[in-house]
Amino acid sequence: MEFSTNSPILFVLVGILIAAVLAQSVFFLCKALRRAKQLGMDTAKLKKTVTTAAVFTIAPAVAIVISVITLSKDLGLPLPWLRLSVVGSMSYETIAATNAESAMGLTFGRAGALSAQQYVTIALVMTISIMVGIWLVPLLCRKLQNGMISMEKRDKKWGDIFQNALFIGMIAAFLGYVFCDFSTVFHGDTSGLVPVCVMFVSAAVMALAGLAVKTLKWHWISDYALPVSLVAGMAAAIPITAWLG
């Protein structure tokens, strides 16, 4: 069979794999919903969780589609479709593909038509490199969760603070990242201010939503505040980038 990075058989193989991963998501969704019912959790609250999660996911998922398009220029559609639906992310996959291609004397973005041998080699590098998290979670998850539970048992207040500290630590790292190009301002280049301004627009929208909930009692706003602040920030990025470069 003649090889092409967009060969129909590759779409079939990837389709089967993605269906399996989709089945895992559906399995865990049903399992969690069943447990929620047993715990007597409010059905309306659960419906809201489902809706909010779905709405929130749309914009980041569209960004992932753009990543698929970008990677498909070198690798065809099936492999990026697989890698970005399962385990991967744009930055990981680009680095893995670039390293694999340069190891074979190719240049990422200008590889041209890949041979089956090159394609298999790239797919193997991407797959083997990224797999650790998948098997490490079954190995460590129970131990880590048990550690959290026993900490909670020993000191409930510290258990709550510990959990909040984890979230705050993660958010602080990303807030810092927003300022990573800020120092360009010291050299007269304002482009480093773009992510900072976008972050402030998004934060302002979220703060306004919080204010509306508190003062006007518009509780329905809180359900969609995060996706709306996300889209508002992204939309604001267009004029801000045109303005600051």
Binding site: L29, A53, V86
Partner: protein, 221 residues
């Protein structure tokens, strides 16, 4: 307590079965392509490519597992580490769901809500990507339009601006020190950029845990 253990036990068992099965299936993809097209890997290229990529990815995976599993919960972790895009999608989605539902992450209700949010997010992401692949011809000019490029380039600042307001305002005593440290590091250390933010997450988490322990012991929290 016994019921909670039983539910979590089944999550650990099912999660292990699913994750290990998916791992085997993923590995079968390059093997199947090699068999179908009678292609032997370029062993030299494979070794060099792995040497350049795998050690870094494996180290990051270990750190990410230890850092993210306590935040994602059991069910959410099994799913997130299979479906990917954790920091930029699954974790913010779970955090938002916990906040909206008004449940604590370390409660069983929190475990359930986090799993539901991550499962829904994974399903929606998979469907949108599949739709994008099917409609790639009409979508490419639209999504690759230069006018829209800045919007998608700034997705993380837009995401963490909103999320930051919610969590920093509720835990401002906890947040001051790590936010100041991260801002200073990212502004004044040129080596820190989009590529290194994943490495800085555990650094920031460890620092925040240390600071919160001190504040807790001093009775500030």
């Amino acid at each position: 307590m016994k019921t909670q253990k039983t539910y979590l036990d089944t999550v650990y068992r099912d999660g292990a079965i699913w994750n290990l099965s998916v791992m085997v299936l993923l590995f079968l993809f390059p093997v199947a392509v090699a068999l179908i097209f009678s292609a032997v890997p370029d062993w030299h290229g494979l070794a060099l490519g792995l040497l350049a990529t795998a050690p870094m990815y494996w180290a990051v995976a270990v750190v990410e597992t230890v850092t993210y599993v306590p935040m994602l919960g059991a069910g959410g972790s099994y799913l997130s580490f299979v479906t990917g895009n954790i920091a930029n999608l699954k974790l913010p989605c779970a955090l938002n769901a916990l906040e909206q539902a008004g449940v604590k992450a370390n409660s069983e209700e929190g475990e359930v809500v986090s799993t539901i949010a991550i499962a829904v997010s994974s399903i929606v992401t998979t469907l949108i990507i599949a739709l994008g692949v099917v409609l790639i011809v009409p979508l490419t000019p639209l999504l690759s339009a230069p006018a829209l490029e800045p919007a998608f380039a700034q997705i993380l600042p837009a995401l963490f601006g909103g999320l930051g307001v919610v969590f920093v305002s509720k835990n401002w005593k906890l947040a001051v020190a790590p936010v100041v440290l991260m801002l200073a590091l990212f502004i004044f250390v040129p080596a820190l950029n989009a590529g290194t933010v994943g490495i800085m997450v555990p650094v920031s988490v460890l620092f925040t845990l240390g600071v919160s322990r001190i504040l807790y012991k001093k009775g500030v929290l």
